[in-house]
Structure formats: C-alpha cells, structure tokens
Assembly symmetry: C2
Homo-oligomer: 197 residues x 2
DNA sequence: GTAAAAAGTTGAACAAGTTCAATAAATGGA
DNA sequence: TCCATTTATTGAACTTGTTCAACTTTTTAC
C-alpha cells in the first residue's frame, strides 16, 4: 500500500472517530491494495462479496441489472468513498449487484476475517462502521423520498449541484441509470435546461 | 414498563446479538414506556427527535410531506419494530419527518443520553445498533432498486406478499403513500388485479 | 343510531417518462 | 490516423401514472 493511500484512509477514519496513531496503523495493516483497470469488475451478481473497499484513486459504480437487462446504479464511489455489497459481504450470501471500475482505480480491500479481527481488537472500529452505516442510511432514506417526490428534471439538477466533481467524470448513461430514467429522456431534459438559459 | 413489553424487547435484541440476562436487563432499564393514541404524533417535521423507539403494541407510520402537501411514507413500524429519525436523533438536527400512530400504541423510548450511556457501558450495544442499522441499510438499497425497476402493480403485489399482516391493518391511502403512487391509481390497480382472478 | 368525516372507486383529460428507430458526435484501440 | 464502438440527440408513438371531479362506501364520534 502506498503511503498516500494509507494517509487518505487514515484521514477518512478520523472524520468519523478518534483513533490513536498506533491503532489507526494497526487497522490500516488489515487492508491490501488492488489496482483495477477501467471496465474491470470487482464483483458480479451471483458471487459472494469478499471485501469492503476504500477507494484511493479512480471511480466505481455499484449497480443492478434487472429482468429486462436495464442497469440501475445504486451509487458511485470515487476517491475517499467506501464500496461493498454489505449484505453479501456480511452474510456471505450471493450478491445481486455488480461493482465495476469506470476509470483505472486503486482500492484498499479488507476481508471479512480482518474486519472481524478489527472489531474484536480495536473496539472503536465497531463505532466507525456503525457511524458510517448510519450516515449511508440517512442518505438512502433521503434518496427514497426524493425519488418519490421530485421529477426527473429536479433530481438531475440536484445531482449536478451536489456532485459537480462526479458529474463531469460520468457519462449521461451512468447518470440516467442513477436517476432511474432512460438516457434518452435525460438527453431531452438536458436540452430543455440548456434552452432555458 | 410492563413485563411483556420488556420480554418483547429482550427477544428482539437476542435476534441480533448475544447478551447476558443482566446486561439485557440493564439495557431495558434505560427505556421508558409511552402510550400513544391513534393519530397522535411522536415527532413532527422541524422538531428534534429525542428518542429511539421500540414498538410494543400498535402501528406507526414514518412519513414526509413534500412541497405540494403530498405524503410519502418511509416505513411503517408495528410490534417488534424500531422507529426513529436517526439523523435528527443522532445529530440533534431538525427533522423533516413525521412519526404518527395509526393505531393506539405502546412504545418503549430511549433517549440519546441513555443510548450513549449504553454504548459506553455495554459494548455489545454498539454491535446491536451497527447490525440493526446494517439490516435497514440493505432493506433501503433493495427498495431503491425496486422502485426503479418495478411497476406500481408489481410493487403492490410484493408489498402484500411480504407484509400480509401489515397489509390488512393499513388503508389504501397509506399503502399508496408507501409505494409512491396516488391512491386513485392504487384503486385502479386493485380493480385490475381482482378482475384477473 | 345517525350525521359527518374519511376512505375508496371510477372516468376523462392530461403529464411524465419510455421505447424504438434513425442519425450524429465522441472516444478508444490497433 | 482511421475504423469500430460507444455515447448522445431527436422525433413519433406509446405506456404508466396523475389530477380533478363526482360519487359510493365505510368508519368514527357523539
């Protein structure tokens, strides 16, 4: 693992909990680095997710492919984000998700065994993941309500405003798959918006 | 707190973690019981949520009212379910949710102070809430994808199949607000289904 | 038991978003 | 650099779901 990757991970942890330098180092030792090429998959539906990952570089999408072969993006994970199928990882159950790199990437991976080791030996880590899961939880609730109460236009505009960095690294196909609309309709929304200006 | 309420709470905890009888009792002592009449609110948008609740009896709905005055139901909580606005509760931030009893209810409430006391003094409790939050997280992910990939008809049928008990305690207005459709359209779906049989 | 309120149904007109097909533009790999 | 592939745009027809209004049925409160 590069020093800068470790730095980013330690900085990320410190956003959520207080941890001594030694304990943070001990925790970081439980990760291994992996380089992933664009379009390469970290996980496919049907497989059991054997990792929880912290993105040091690059960009991933976590998505589902439905019955009709349509992609739905659950979330994107760029630098400083965590990525896994928590259900598959925790319960060792086949996943229904795909995780794929949209850009060449470096990701730090921790196994279930090592995460459980951390839970046992560094009590603060239990808190770390409780807090992180809780934050995601809040975010998911918000998204459910937004999907129910807002039109596609509004959701698109809010996406751009909330994630300007992500926006310019993503194709409209990916954004449409996140917003839950067809990419043709997204194209029409974009036209409408640009005409208004 | 009645003995039966305490029993239900202890049984619920034991579904997620192993806890000695003494520790479970100690944890239960941190809750207080509250009786809530039908249509009474536990929380309103704008307020700070001061509790995390475990439903012993009755039925609650957790919902949002959007700009246009339309209700969106985030979830229902009947016996053996937990209910709170986790964001407002944890971060002492004004809520954007309403929590209201749909039936006369009894709920066991724990304050933030008492929950933090539990975190400090009963380490397993940190794990309990991490696991519960994680389960909710999985459920919310599933719901986001379902809302994107399934029609209202399918979502209605799955709702009935997954929550038959809940279904017969809820009005179609409430179910429509959960599915994210108008109650008129739900009525038409019901007609279509009944004609098929 | 009855009046009022709330919940449920139905139809017609409408709006939001999809699908399909054709074409244009951008990107990527040898 | 050039060819193939992917991404984006556009229009027309279509589907899903909404809105509004009128009406019926059920529930609730006194």
């Amino acid at each position: 693992m590069t020093a800068s990757a470790k730095q980013l991970l330690k900085k990320n942890i410190s956003k959520h909990i207080l941890l001594t330098e030694e304990k943070a180092d001990e925790f970081c030792e439980l990760f291994e680095s992996r380089f992933v090429k664009k379009k390469e998959s970290l996980l496919k539906a049907g497989e059991i997710c054997r990792f929880e990952g912290f993105v040091n570089k690059g960009l991933f999408r976590v998505y589902h492919i439905d019955r009709d072969g349509v992609d739905q993006v659950l979330y994107f994970a760029a630098e400083d984000w965590w990525v896994t199928d928590i259900d598959s990882f925790t319960n060792e159950r086949p996943s229904w998700l795909y995780i794929e790199a949209l850009e060449d990437a470096e990701i730090l991976l921790i196994s279930k065994e090592n995460k459980e080791f951390a839970y046992r030996n560094i009590p603060e880590i239990e808190k770390l993941f409780r807090i992180m899961t809780q934050k995601t939880h809040v975010f998911l609730q918000r998204r459910i309500i937004d999907n129910m109460s807002k039109t596609a236009d509004e959701r698109y505009i809010e996406f751009i405003e909330r994630y300007p960095q992500l926006f310019h690294r993503l194709s409209n196909l990916q954004i449409a798959a996140y917003l839950g609309i067809s990419h043709e309709f997204l194209s029409k929304i974009r036209k409408k918006i640009s005409q208004k200006k």
